[in-house]
């Protein structure tokens, strides 16, 4: 099918982008999620505001011990290592397993997060890495913790008229341990259960369980999970309502594998 008609705007500044969005335009990024929704006519916006030409939209800059990643940075750029150090290694390993390379060359980290598909990879991983989302609206920049940026299925903490400009993530020491596991029926398909765990020496380990048809579940102190993966995974998953037995089983497996990965 073909999309229904819309008009196309290309804002040259973030202020113009916000004006367009406030007037009802739909932001367009890599269109790797929006494109299919348009083609299937699940989305029928009057206007698309193409963010791809905004200044500083894509790219990475390190300030102190934080890396700022422009919303328009593609999965492929992250896969190819634009983020330095241990954090970059971790993000590259996640990016490589999002969709397929020809989707990753256009799909963006910001689009992925703003889209807030519960099964999406950055939706699951960024809350574990910590840091903030940088929203931009009529009143300028606003910082929101990534741990509760995604609030529901396709729902985020962005206010009406706000766009996502960047994410800011703390850099990691080489000693940081990381485990990540997802269950996909075919490579590149959306996950049916994802878990990840970040263990930085001297800090509380943090885990996330995601892709369970709701917002990601952030486990702020995962010490118990590290101590007793099997028992604790069972307890955590029992607290997720409405999962069929097989989804429960793979969710538990995801948590156990994430622990194993972080220990390896």
């Amino acid at each position: 099918m073909k999309p229904s008609r819309f008009s196309y705007k290309r804002p040259a500044s973030w202020d113009d982008a916000v004006k367009l969005v406030l007037a009802g335009a739909r932001p367009g990024a890599g269109t790797q999620s929006l494109g299919p929704m348009l083609n299937l006519r699940l989305a029928r916006p009057d206007t698309i505001a193409d963010l791809r030409h905004l200044p500083d939209y894509a790219g990475v800059s390190v300030r102190g011990d934080t890396v700022r990643i422009g919303a328009g940075t593609t999965h492929a750029a992250l896969e190819d290592g634009v983020v330095p150090g241990r954090l970059g290694q971790i993000m590259a390993s996640v990016a490589r397993r999002i969709a397929y390379r020809p989707v990753r060359t256009r799909g963006t980290i910001g689009g992925s997060l703003a889209h807030a598909d519960p099964a999406a990879d950055w939706v699951a991983v960024l809350p574990a890495l910590g840091g903030v989302a940088v929203a931009f609206g009529a009143a300028g920049e606003r910082r929101l913790p990534l741990a509760n940026f995604v609030t529901g299925i396709f729902e985020t903490a962005l206010a009406p008229g706000e766009v996502l400009r960047a994410v800011e993530v703390p850099m990691l020491r080489d000693a940081a341990r990381w485990g990540h596991w997802k269950f996909c029926r075919k490579i590149g398909e959306f996950s049916k259960a994802t878990a990840c765990l970040l263990d930085v020496p001297g800090a509380r380990p943090r885990a996330v369980l995601a892709a369970l048809d709701g917002p990601p579940m952030v486990i702020d102190d995962a010490a118990a999970l590290l101590a007793d993966p099997t028992g604790e995974a069972r307890r955590i998953v029992a607290g997720c309502p409405g999962l069929s037995p097989w989804r429960q089983a793979i969710a538990e497996a995801a948590l156990r594998h994430a622990v194993q990965g972080a220990r390896a």
Binding site: R5, Q32, G35, N39, D50, R101, R106, G188
Partner: protein, 165 residues
């Protein structure tokens, strides 16, 4: 919903076009530009048949609006001429029976060429992983994977020989 003026460089030639904002690149290539080697299957990014190069990187032309590609350099399956890797892949696809109806082939070749270039040390498992976004309803994939692996191996040998000399 006015039409927009765009300029694309398609297979080396500058083209000025008037497109509707909703036009996907695939439709513009196949329609006004009559480059029907780009095939359209699923129209939601899953099957890979429409894969082309935008500014040197493989991309799905079914979910990239022509309007947002204004100024870009596009290469379709018609535009690889005697590119060295593409020539080797064409020969390998023929030799290994890597196509039957040919519907998936343009996308397979564009992605295959990217794999050969980007991952010169890929083994069979990695090639399968990288090609998993291109569906083929005919061949069962074995010939396709074998063809791509054979080009990677041949280039690796050539590299080694070059280094020994």
């Amino acid at each position: 919903m006015s039409r927009i003026d765009i300029t694309l460089t398609v297979n080396g030639e500058p083209r000025e076009l008037k497109v509707e904002p909703r036009d996907q690149l695939a439709d513009v290539l196949r329609g006004p530009l009559m480059l029907t080697g780009t095939h359209v299957g699923c129209e939601h990014g899953v099957c890979g048949a429409c894969t082309i190069e935008i500014d040197g990187a493989p991309a799905r032309s079914c979910i990239a609006h022509a309007g947002s590609c204004d100024g870009a350099t596009i290469r379709t399956i018609e535009g690889f001429g005697d590119d060295e890797i593409m020539r080797a892949l064409r020969e390998a696809f023929t030799r290994e029976h890597a196509l039957q109806c040919g519907y998936c082939t343009p996308g397979m070749l564009v992605v295959g060429r990217d794999v050969v270039r980007r991952l010169p040390d890929a083994d069979e498992a990695r090639v399968r992983e990288e090609m998993s976004g291109n569906l083929c309803r005919c061949t069962g994939y074995r010939g396709i994977v074998r063809a791509i692996v054979s080009v990677i191996v041949a280039r690796r040998h050539a590299r080694r020989e070059g280094a020994c000399r």
